[in-house]
């Protein structure tokens, strides 16, 4: 192994595929970008697992940032172990880890061959959709901590958060699918057994006919009592809240159909409508199942606990212990490692803190804290290890207080869909028709009265409306997620169609939050000095230095360099004979600059002031075009936690009517949202961080933006991939088309209903006509909804 500074054409790492840059590590005739990647390769090579590299090119995960060796120490703690382990007996332990890095077939293969790396692992199985690996291991041979470290050593660091410890994962509700299966089974058999009657069975075999009718009755019982129970509970719950939802008339129709059919079979007057009843239950359940298919890989319910580590290091006099977050008490001293999240409010007692609060406040630049100053939960320490003295426990801290507000305890009302109102209208009309037909027959031929009334109720239940709604919703949800907008459930489609105000967060949503545009303002810098500035900037850990480094270009190799960095002030150094200093105004000029709103870094060469670097937020691509489009249709608002340095720029993009608010705390954002809603607006909030959580929850539609959907997003109604944010307006248009498609399908189904009613009011709706009308109306609804929604999504959002 050797390090070779080759500056020729870019070489990509054999393991992770990233550009190796200037430092390349050569080993076994292959190039690696860092020691970590090489070590993973050597481990796999020594175990004969290099097939990993043959399924996909460069399948590995970048290992540039090494994982602290005692990071998983907390897994030796008994209560933590118990909360993570799903099963344990004398010989084996089962545990599931969430591995966000899983992305390709190589990952799957390697993770299922863990037993070849360590014999203590008995087997491992990956759930690709959930990005989870279930590992079965012998705890006499290998500890839980060692399993986590084994996964980390091959580049799949398990993500274990405070959330995993608090509650058990929800068991997937499969009841609806069983109900669908039973309904399908009964429907098909009843239909088969009804054919002899419809096709005209020989009169000599009347006893056989009666036998078939009773078998049908028997087969309809599981559907009536088990499969349709779904609708009974839903209708009953709504009725208890004095609300008539679409399930209520459907339940009425099921009851009427069933009892009339039982009566007909019992008295021998007819064969009943068992096939129509079971068929409609089957189709409606299928629609519901399709609509409810959720995105298993995404979680829409994350609160702060998913972000917090499961354990932190507590320092007692001389010893260090891993303790779980709930055990943290007042006056504990905690050791916060580099890049770790601060779990509770406290006072800095050791080390210098450079804390990135972007997570909590949306402020883009990290802040310096000296010993004795307050640090708040949710900040991420960016420079070395620090110690803090806890002054507020986790549940009382500044960040978590937001979750105690009542907006987080109430569920959003999902019963506002227009189909419920429409079904109520529909039901009254049906009742009226039934009453008219009933009165007519009462006057003319009393024997036909009940026949006509029940037939009207059977034929005209709003099943078609429910079907067209669920099938359209299900298909639109699928079309949207194929285009990387993931909605929590079908109700969000309608909410999204109804919004009139869009609220944006700034940092991380409109801007990328990572890279910043650097503008240099001052005397021209000669090229050699520019490279020296890059060399000096490369030495600093401050995030602004990274932006300067990007601006200045490549740093010099093998130069004489001596430098001194004062945290929070600046850096000063001799680079190849030139004295260069960069830092705050006070550090360079000796005077504070008071009227600067943008972050600025001053530069001096040989003690002479040259100029200063200003940092502008880097807006996401196509954001100006999107805002231009949206401002014609919506009231736009920006709620930023940052300072007003970008106001002029934003104003230009958003226009004069937009409302801009700066320095908004998470609670301010929530209150602003409430205010907008009280003014009668229907609001969508788009944000990315925990600081937007309150606003996302309060909004009619809370949309979380993610650069990578595997990453963590705050609780929301929708998750949108940052790549497709420019298409936002088209997504909304597709959601609006949803309602039109439902209505179109419903209108078509009314044609079938009228045909059926024609027979029903005359009191001669034969089971065969019902059996023809029901499936053909269901199938045409299915075709219309699928066709139209596919067409609409293809027109609005052509797939690339």
């Amino acid at each position: 192994m050797q390090q070779s500074p080759i500056s020729a054409s870019a070489v990509s790492c054999f393991h992770c595929g990233e550009d190796c840059g200037q430092i390349q590590i050569q080993a076994h005739g292959k190039y690696f970008c860092c020691e970590g990647c090489r070590m993973v390769y050597e481990l796999l090579n020594s175990k004969g697992l290099c097939d990993y590299y043959s399924f996909n090119q460069t399948p590995g995960n970048n290992q540039r940032i090494p994982v602290r060796s005692d990071k998983f120490q907390f897994l030796e703690d008994d209560p933590i172990q118990r909360s993570l382990i799903s099963f344990r007996n004398d010989t084996q332990t089962h545990v599931s880890f969430y591995l966000p890095q899983v992305h390709c077939s190589s990952c799957l293969w390697l993770l299922e061959n863990l037993h070849r790396i360590n014999p203590g692992v008995m087997s491992s199985k990956v759930n690709f959709e959930r990005k989870e690996a279930t590992v079965v291991f012998d705890h006499h041979v290998i500890s839980l901590r060692a399993v986590a470290e084994l996964l980390t050593s091959i580049g799949y660091e398990p993500y274990i958060s405070f959330h995993d410890m608090q509650k058990k994962k929800p068991v997937q509700d499969r009841r609806k699918i069983y109900r669908l299966g039973v309904a399908g089974f009964c429907f098909a058999n009843i239909m088969l057994l009804s054919f002899p009657e419809y096709l005209g069975i020989d009169i000599k075999e009347a006893h056989l006919l009666n036998f078939f009718r009773y078998v049908n009755l028997g087969l309809s019982l599981p559907v009536f009592f088990y499969s349709a129970a779904e609708f009974y509970t839903s209708a009953w719950q709504a009725l208890r809240h004095r609300f008539l939802n679409i399930d209520a008339p459907i339940v009425l129709a099921i009851l009427v159909t069933f009892f009339r059919s039982v009566y007909e079979v019992y008295t021998g007057t007819g064969s009943g409508y068992f096939d129509s009843m079971t068929g409609i239950v089957f189709f409606m359940l299928a629609g519901r199942v399709l609509q409810d298919r959720t995105h298993k890989q995404l979680s829409f319910d994350r609160d702060y606990t998913s972000y917090f580590p499961i354990a932190v290091t507590r320092v007692n006099d001389t010893e260090q212990h891993s303790v779980s977050l709930s055990e943290i008490k007042l006056n504990d001293t905690l050791l916060i490692h580099h890049q770790e999240l601060i779990p509770a409010d406290g006072i800095l007692t050791r080390g210098k803190a450079l804390i990135d609060y972007s997570f909590v406040t949306g402020e883009s630049a990290p802040v310096m804290k000296e010993m004795g100053e307050m640090v708040y939960a949710g900040g991420r320490q960016m420079a070395g290890n620090i110690e803090i003295l806890v002054i507020r426990e986790v549940a009382q801290s500044y960040l978590t207080r937001l979750w105690n507000r009542d907006v987080f305890s109430k569920e959003k009302d999902s019963q506002t869909s227009f189909v419920h109102a429409l079904s109520r209208w529909f039901t009254w009309i049906v009742f009226a028709i039934a009453a008219i037909a009933g009165t007519y027959w009462m006057l003319h031929d009393e024997t036909r009265m009940w026949n006509a009334i029940t037939a009207v109720l059977i034929i005209a239940c709003p099943c078609a409306l429910l079907l067209s709604n669920t099938f359209t919703n299900g298909n639109i949800l699928r079309q949207l997620s194929a285009r990387k907008l993931y909605l929590r459930n079908a109700a969000v489609i309608e909410n999204l169609a109804d919004i009139d105000t869009i609220v944006f967060d700034k940092t991380g949503t409109l801007t990328t939050g990572v890279s910043e545009d650097v503008v240099y303002d001052g005397r021209p810098i000669p090229a050699p000095i520019r490279r020296k500035i890059a060399t000096l900037a490369a030495q600093s850990t401050h995030p602004l230095s990274k932006s300067i480094l990007q601006w200045a270009g490549e740093s010099l190799q093998d130069v004489s360099l001596a430098f001194r960095e004062e945290s929070g002030k600046g850096i000063e150094g001799m680079v190849d004979g030139d004295l260069i200093a960069m830092g705050s105004a006070a550090f360079i000029t000796g005077k504070e600059d008071t009227h600067e709103t943008l972050a600025a870094v001053y530069l001096s060469v040989e003690g002479k002031f040259m100029g200063c670097f200003r940092f502008r937020n880097h807006y996401r691509e196509a954001i100006p075009a999107l805002l231009q489009e949206l401002k014609q249709h919506y009231h736009l608002v920006v709620l930023s936690g940052d300072n007003p340095g970008e106001e002029a720029n934003l104003r230009q993009m958003l226009g004069r009517e937009a409302a801009l608010y700066f320095r908004q705390q998470p609670e301010d954002k929530l209150d602003k949202l409430k205010l907008l809603q009280e003014q009668g607006h229907s609001v969508m909030m788009i944000g990315d961080g925990l600081n937007d959580s309150g606003a996302l929850k309060q909004a009619d539609v809370g949309m979380a933006l993610a650069d990578n959907t595997n990453h963590f997003t705050p609780a929301s109604d929708a998750i949108i991939d940052a790549q497709v944010l420019p298409k936002l307006y088209r997504f909304i248009q597709l959601c609006r088309a949803n309602r039109r498609i439902v209505m179109a399908a419903f209108l078509v189904s009314i044609v079938y209903n009228i045909t059926g009613l024609w027979f029903a009011v005359q009191g001669n709706l034969s089971p065969m006509i019902a059996a023809i009308l029901m499936p053909s109306s269901s199938l045409s609804i299915l075709l219309i909804t699928y066709g139209f929604s596919n067409m609409a999504s293809r027109k609005l959002l052509p797939e690339t």
Binding site: C50, D51, S105, L108, E129, F185, E205, L208
Partner: protein, 51 residues
């Protein structure tokens, strides 16, 4: 008559066994992860296992 009863019994029990198989397959979690099985089936059984 008798033969129809027999056929009926046979057809419903066959269909019933399919229903049971369906419920079993859902219960055992076969539909929980639809992405890994199609990948998994393409892997060879440790050809390069040299140690």
């Amino acid at each position: 008559m008798g033969v129809i009863m027999l056929l009926l019994l046979a057809s419903i029990s066959v269909a019933g066994s399919f229903l049971a198989a369906f419920i079993w397959s859902v219960k055992s979690g076969q539909y929980d992860d639809e992405q890994s099985p199609p990948i998994r089936i393409l892997f060879d059984d440790s050809v390069t296992d040299k140690d």
